[in-house]
Symmetry: C2
Subunit: 592 residues, 2 copies
């Protein structure tokens, strides 16, 4: 069973040396000084390592079971969830008015990364609650806020997102679940929802479902959809719990991974629901949840890879197998450790460079969310809206790949369930699928986000990269190893965007056939920018003689690896994109 | 549960139109005319679809169990294995002198692909027997041949390969299992072997283990190793079965996939064994098994991807979700089929182009094996020796990727075990690991095969590519879409080889840090060559007006996809390789 050690040092580097959050003008950031965030991360790291990680394997082995219509979570999950709640972790960035701690979202990301690395399945029980809180805060009535938010913010109750039905996942226009208005102002919700993460469980007294359904008069397609609050247990006027609502678990899905989390079929049989937000504007309200959920799935993508990387690095250091080609490095032992072999190193470096780069990208994204929400900064909002599909799609595709690489380091032992590496791979696999499969992220990016607001966010991104290069070009330590590759990669991204603009006009398939590659191209440029910023910060620290020389040198070397070995992928993606739609679309459907 | 339909038409295309086997000079190939191979493939396809495929899911769900020291395989496996045996399938390329059908190896590959696609776990029970037969044929005494081959060739008994021990996988020099000479000429074998595929089961009366062990006087490391025949049940002089040997199953491993195959811990407690081949030359005897096993694992890599692709293509055609961006294609339905979406097509095209290309590459490889063995052609032998790590490593890395892509087409449904896509992914994962993890394949390729025989096989490969381009350059239908990309890719491969030669002299890590990329670069060039040959054959057939126009046009379009969208990866791999060892090796081991 792999152990987990929280990467507190690296998080502090990202927060304070790369993003310099405590000198940011974003309201609330001034309080986030190094000592304060250090203390928070330290505590979160402890609970992750000591409480959550030890339950991860058992959660996978036992899974969840349905007993008398009630979901029972794996042994130990309830006390662990209680411990999270007692520590105030789910409420870390919750509104203080509802019992939250009122810290910025970036701190929820940093601590959340640890919880996901340690036990992804358990963390999902609180993950979607966050989205439900945002939706109710943004669209709820005062009464709804008063009834639900204090319990949801603290995770005394948890929330879910009910969109998918058997006949429709992405294509929500096909939703059939009905909402019929009742005399007293509520709606009767009837229908079946599937793939509901944390749909039911024994970790909280109540589960608040946000359900997309069709109320009369809205017409067909997504325009006719509204969002409803449907509690598992009805809430009395005084806030106490009343009768069970007519919602039940049809079954728990038997999945490839995240066995510790109950993915449920939910049956609504005239369940009482209350409209959240405007009638027939359900998609808008739902997107509030969804965008946030997408960022946190991107985070899951690299957080599981971090845990897998830790396992692989430890194994490569301990397992003695073969000899270094340049001569024995452990001459007194029966063999050298795996890590002497260049191909094992290649794999470890790719994992390490990915995870650390992804952490920077995600925290930067979180800082944009904070800026957008706390300072009403529309530029930040435009940028994070553009980056959301990139963070979700790229970090989960690459996170899965990194996890597979980590498993590979173990050779045959990686394939044996007891080692725990298989679980990481099986768990990570879902991140490419849920909250919008990655193909949908690519479509969102190319089909909607690129041209959003007249292309201003995209132009803003390019300007930011250019400005960074301009500002640092005189620095010889950065020039050839970081800035030049970043410039090349950014040019590839621009060329791809130009291709879409010119060709996409004539044939929309020309752009969409390249959407997957564009998302990856964009992801690499973001990572390149992050690594260039990290290198600048590390060089500055080395110059100032901070003392932690090994850390900063490792940071620069890891960044050099990314720029030299991963970033050149942009040219490949560009070549694929500019080959156009024909190679992809030419074959008649019957020929598959 | 996915159904399986044997790609007989495509196999016939590869055998007769790409490789033109019946006009080859390889002994035995003249009999392989189109009708004959068609009849064989038809029959094999039936047993694969009707008998093996329906058991695949149950095999995964039930797995194997150990009862009173005996492995019990999943329900239905025994009658299915009997049916394979009754049809003579395991013996298809077995020596006629021992009850085999004496057909070339290429026919074993073609039919084997079907059996693997339909039920990989079940097929592994016969897979390693093939290797055991080869080892005994090559290194056994006449008595050993007479005792074991007639039963192994027909799979009345099955064979295993016992190399790995808890402390050593690849690094066989650390093997501890002991072989002590006994008075009557046998050896007493004592030790523990792990990860033994098909180590025990109820499908055959006897299991013949080939065990690598250390006999006195051989010294340390691999030089001291010898190979022994250790039957599960001792064989009497008259060929009848005698007493149980002192070999037992310690446990069945709990694996990520191929649950239907028993991967065993085998305990040898002074078991009777007989030396196979020369004393202290066990590695040589073992490599006879291993090279063959590596080719067949490469085959598994794409065979599982074929099955997964069939599932994805069917799902994409049936599942209605969203509308084509160019206007509804199924206006009377609630939505268009998934296949209208460019990103779904991109995924399907990449799977299809991979599987069909991989089939050509594997069959071509098999034809080289036949040529080497049946015509003692040393050039063919050198070439297949060079290509073996490429076929194993590239086809399994890419096969796994293709299987993951196929699963992704299903969205959330792909993550649910009942759909069967998760099983394909979990099963395919082992192919990257066993019979030498892919990092070991890359090391074998760069560290041994490139320079083997003074680099002649590599030069021969380049000459072959050049000759093909030269011969067809006048053909406008091939020039820009196939030959030009192939020429560019081949140049990338040459540049990488030159880099290794010049830099590797100074620093062996410079070559080894690029070994993974070199293997992939080589794999792409092989696939490019195959697709160019396929395009030539398809154009020729279209010109001759054969009639099956849709098939040949699809073949050309699929080839164009590969050349335009996949082959440009060679430049990326070259860029990584020429970045040298430093980005990979610079970081001190403590910094991981």
């Amino acid at each position: 069973m792999p152990s987990y050690s929280a990467p507190t040092r690296d998080m502090q580097f990202v927060l304070h040396e790369v993003l310099d959050i405590s000198h940011s003008e974003t309201p609330g950031y001034a309080d986030l000084d190094r000592d304060f965030t250090g203390a928070i991360l330290e505590e979160a790291g402890k609970i992750a390592s000591d409480v959550l990680a030890p339950l991860n394997t058992a959660g996978d082995t036992q899974g969840c079971r349905l007993e008398n219509g009630m979901v029972i979570t794996p042994e130990g999950f309830k006390p662990a969830f209680d411990a999270l709640r007692a520590g105030g972790w789910p409420a870390i960035d919750g509104d203080a008015a509802y019992g939250g701690q009122g810290l910025p979202y970036i701190m929820s990301c940093a601590t959340g990364e640890m919880f996901v690395s340690a036990n992804m399945a358990l963390n999902i029980y609180q993950g979607l609650t966050h989205g439900a809180v945002s939706a109710i805060r943004a669209h709820g009535t005062d009464a709804q806020k008063a009834t639900y938010l204090p319990r949801l913010v603290t995770c005394d109750w948890t929330g879910t997102m009910n969109l998918t039905e058997p006949q429709c996942g992405t294509d929500l226009g096909q939703v059939r679940t009905k909402a019929e208005p009742q005399d007293e102002g509520s709606y009767a919700i009837t229908g079946q929802k599937i793939f509901i993460s944390a749909g039911d469980h024994d970790l909280a007294e109540n589960v608040i479902h946000l359900v997309l359904a069709r109320a009369p008069g809205g017409g067909e397609g997504t325009r006719g959809l509204s969002l409803f609050i449907v509690p598992k247990v009805l809430v009395n006027q005084d806030g106490s719990l009343g009768a069970r609502n007519a919602v039940s678990v049809g079954k728990i899905e038997h999945k490839m991974g995240i066995h510790g989390n109950a993915t449920c079929v939910m049956n609504y049989d005239g369940a009482k629901g209350w409209l959240l937000g405007d009638l027939h504007k359900g998609m808008r309200a739902m997107f509030t949840m969804m965008n946030e959920a997408r960022l946190s799935v991107g985070l899951q993508g690299y957080a599981v890879a971090e845990a897998a990387y830790q396992g692989a690095a430890a194994y490569a250091t301990e397992r003695l197998q073969g000899r270094a080609v340049t001569g024995p490095e452990n001459p007194d032992g029966p063999a050298d450790p795996l890590i002497v072999h260049p191909d094992i190193r290649r794999s470890l470096m790719s994992q390490k460079a990915f995870v650390e780069g992804a952490r920077m990208l995600t925290f930067w994204g979180a800082s944009l969310v904070d800026r957008a929400q706390r300072a009403d900064d529309t530029q930040a909002e435009g940028l994070i809206s553009l980056l959301t599909p990139v963070i979700k799609g790229f970090l989960t595709d690459k996170g899965f790949e990194a996890t597979v690489n980590a498993q590979q380091v173990f050779g045959g032992h990686g394939y044996i369930e007891e080692q725990g590496m298989s679980q990481f791979v099986r768990d990570a696999r879902i991140t490419m699928i849920y909250e919008g499969a990655n193909g949908v992220q690519a479509l969102d990016l190319v089909g909607r986000k690129l041209a959003a607001d007249g292309g201003k966010p995209l132009m803003g991104f390019f300007e930011m990269v250019k400005a960074f290069i301009r500002e640092n070009e005189a620095d010889a330590a950065l020039k050839s190893a970081f800035l030049d590759p970043l410039k090349r990669a950014s040019k590839d991204l621009q060329a791809a965007a130009v291709f879409f603009m010119s060709e996409g006009m004539k044939n929309p398939n020309a752009a969409l056939a390249g959407s997957h590659d564009f998302l990856h191209l964009f992801g690499h440029v973001c990572m390149g920018l992050m690594w260039a910023r990290a290198a600048r910060a590390a060089h500055a620290a080395l110059k100032s003689g901070d003392g932690d020389t090994a850390f900063y040198q490792a940071k620069i070397m890891t960044g050099r690896y990314y720029m030299a070995r991963e970033l050149p992928a942009t040219a490949f993606h560009l070549a694929r994109i500019t080959s156009g739609a024909d190679p992809v679309m030419a074959l008649p459907a019957e020929s598959f």
